[in-house]
Symmetry: C2
Subunit: 508 residues, 2 copies
């Protein structure tokens, strides 16, 4: 009975159509549009699946239906960029379409939505389908909503982590230990990676660090590192750099590490939900993909940080430790001060300058950033059994070895050694001064980010802010609080006016 049905499908439910390039991307999911009349012949509805066959190649895609004949007339199939590339189609190609089943993962997503636990095969199938663009945005949203309302167990989170790693690229190093770190986002500045990696690598440890670009902040570590070196590499080249320099600071986005993660984050954004299990799986998967064995997790806590209070922070810490044990990773979670920016520069060039000053032991270096980086190094050293790590890290900094290591990494990443003074900062600048004297009691991280972004960061690397005061500092009336820098007159004016009208620093 079953084979008969399948046979019939092959014989009868197919149709030849002419390709029309829609000249636009769907943004991920594999989608094609057919005319209402053709859809009706095959009894197809919006979001059903069809298999498109061209020669010996085929691809299963989600159907959209054109109600009029204006763009997709009867007999044609409108194809989005993703499908076009996957099947190497061009305008007027003839393709054959047949009805296809929904991906298996649809049933598993339904199962999770119904509150049941998923097993290894089910989670694996879902992640495979996500990675291969087999799910529509609506279907993927159901998965995220299901994991949000019916929170994944630790077992499921581990399976999700492993599946994300499996269906992505992997950096195999066959070394032990392999050091890594991750800071939960939301704090402007905070360029610890660019100090910690050279210190740890200079101490002889391997640290294959991947970083992100900015999404909503004025700069991600990848944006800042890009001021000094190239950050886009294939995974084979990343391996070469790490084996040569002990460490690297590259952009994770081009490496295809745990790619399911980025697609999940995209549908989380509209509701700003953070399914905890996915946050954990996402971070652990990226670390697992580069073979890390010892991972330091920095959880900044503060009013404007992602983690608002101690209860949330301790919960996250405990979850990380649990999943770490289960994945046989050494995990250490530190809860840090997330009330204000770390360092003085905000924006790629201004942050890169801070980092070089710090590594070169320049008196202008930001001491809050230095202290935090040394503390992080101390924690890493302690994980691998080294005592007095703070002192050791400071010694590496003071000896110039960390700076030398950074230059080595920059060169390995096709960059050149550059003096901090030669980093080009935006030529338009404006000083914001305090309206009264007193003590700085609060800094609004969100406005700091917003003004820096309006000034042009991160796309204009020289734009951003430079902060002179931190919480607890005394300030006189008329004294500078921060300077806005911008590469463009137009954006500069915007940023200036926003800065004037908003209370970024609270002085009491």
């Amino acid at each position: 009975m079953k084979t008969k049905k399948l046979k019939l499908k092959n014989i009868f439910d197919k149709m030849k159509l002419k390709v029309k390039d829609m000249d636009i991307s769907s943004g991920g999911p594999l989608v094609a549009v057919i005319n209402r009349k053709d859809a009706s012949m095959l009894d197809l509805h919006v979001m059903d699946r069809i298999k498109i066959k061209k020669g010996s190649k085929f691809e299963t895609v989600v159907v959209d239906i054109a109600q009029s004949s204006k763009v997709v007339p009867k007999g044609t199939i409108g194809v989005f960029e993703e499908v076009l590339n996957s099947l190497k189609l061009k305008n007027n190609d003839k393709v054959e379409i047949t009805i296809a089943r929904k991906p298996l993962s649809i049933d598993y997503i339904k199962k999770k939505l119904d509150g049941q636990r998923l097993n290894k095969n089910e989670i694996d199938q879902i992640v495979w389908d996500i990675v291969h663009n087999k799910l529509s945005a609506v279907e993927l949203t159901y998965f995220v909503a299901a994991c949000y309302t019916n929170v994944m167990s630790i077992e499921e989170t581990i399976l999700l982590t492993k599946a994300m790693v499996k269906h992505g690229s992997v950096l195999s190093l066959n070394k032990y230990p392999v050091i890594d770190k991750h800071s939960i986002g939301g704090i402007p500045g905070n360029r610890t990676t660019m100090v910690v990696v050279p210190i740890i690598a200079a101490a002889g440890y391997i640290m294959p660090k991947t970083s992100s670009r900015s999404i909503t902040s004025p700069a991600g570590t990848a944006d800042t590192m890009e001021v000094l070196a190239n950050v886009i590499f294939p995974i084979s080249k990343m391996k070469e750099i790490v084996l040569k320099a002990n460490g690297c600071i590259v952009w994770g986005g081009s490496l295809n590490l745990a790619p399911a993660d980025d697609k999940i984050i995209a549908v989380e954004r509209p509701l700003e939900i953070d399914a905890e299990s996915q946050l954990l799986a996402s971070i652990m998967a990226k670390k697992h993909s580069v073979s890390s064995t010892h991972i330091l997790i920095d959880v900044p806590m503060g009013k404007y940080a992602k983690v608002k209070n101690r209860v949330e922070a301790l919960k996250l810490k405990s979850e990380f430790e649990k999943i770490g044990r289960r994945l046989r990773k050494h995990i250490k979670v530190i809860i840090t001060d997330g009330r204000q920016p770390i360092g003085n520069g905000i924006g790629p060039c201004l942050e890169a300058r801070d980092v070089l000053w710090l590594l070169k032991r320049d008196p202008r270096r930001p001491l809050d950033l230095e202290k935090k980086c040394l503390m992080m190094c101390a924690n890493i050293f302690s994980m691998v059994g080294i005592k007095n790590g703070y002192k050791k890290a400071l010694g590496i900094l003071d000896s110039g070895k960390a700076y030398q290591k950074m230059v080595e990494i920059i060169k390995a990443q096709n960059g050149k050694e550059i003096a901090a003074e030669d980093i080009r900062i935006g030529r338009f600048s404006y000083d914001v001064v305090s309206a009264k004297g007193g003590e700085v009691v609060e800094i609004d991280n969100k406005f700091i980010s917003r003004i820096a972004r309006i000034a042009g960061a991160p796309h204009d690397k020289g734009s951003g802010l430079y902060i002179y005061k931190h919480i607890g500092d005394r300030v006189k009336r008329g004294e500078k609080l921060f300077t806005i820098y911008s590469e463009s007159k137009h954006e500069f004016e915007y940023a200036k006016d926003v800065a004037k009208s908003e209370k970024v620093f609270v002085v009491r």
Copy 2:
């Protein structure tokens, strides 16, 4: 502080762009595409909102971002059909865009996803935003998923029903009682509406019936009625028809009654989920919109019906009664035999012929359909206090008054009286006979529907099936079980081959 921020938004976060007609519909949500570089200037991300202004008109839409300059270069804005129509834009028009907030309903959807109850204002806002295409498919999906996992209370369901009615058209009749009926779908044939409405209207009661078109079945009542009369009317004309003829049988889809409902159903389809609260709200909202006071709900129960067993049926019955009481409607729920098709014809013309035979007391009329319709009328009569309703309904049928009323309704709906014999049935026909003698013990509704659809129903109105045997009937070897009719040779051949290979009737 707040006013300042708003003022600043108006002054600074805007941009002039040139319209590019994308020449395609988004399928609902208001969407526009801008180039990556422009997006970065305004700090916009995928699924953020912008307000598009053209002269004094404006519309808030969801942003998509083009990564390349191929389709949407810097300085242009790619506009989908929905936005184009809403703002009456054309190619190369200049528009101004400003950053807009997310709709308020996003917070309320999040709240429901977090398991909290929604109040009147919150549900109202969500429905308003759905009706006005303010939510992206992803956001709407979160709402459906939230209501599915965190089941709505009766109070919330009632608020949802009322909001759906409020944000749609309403037929005000100022009459009492106003009769209505609804059959839960899934049963081929089952054209009770076209018999019940003329009987009830002939008895002097008002019955403003709206029906649906087929979605996955071979015909909806609106498709079948369309064989005899027009079914597409504006609501003002529907009112005229009802006031003149006491009843109508029109397509609900063009009337804009509770339009949020159709948009919700569209995102439910991929996972085939039926959030119970939404099913209830959806049906009750459509009835409420036409001012119905006495509503009969038919719940067919059977292996291949939507409702599989008595437990499910009774639960649904109790929910309908609860919500009916709260909306001050008289509701009666009947659980009926949903094991097999009702009537003999399947497909618009074949069903219309059955109905005319029945109303004209032709010996060829389907007695199972007649019996069910009389039983339904008896229930309706009993709701309005009339005893012996079955006999009364039969009297109206036998006297020819129901037929006369049907002719009156057909004429009011711009149709002409037509003899059952003059209804054109598909010219290709094929008889499927029984391979053995015995008793019919099962009929597979799903295959009945599938074969009728492959033969061309509902788009070819003359295509479909005619069934000779029902469950419990005796059949001889070689005796006809059903005939396939089709208007097209091509589709006929498909349907024939599928029918030959599938076991539609089980004979024992």
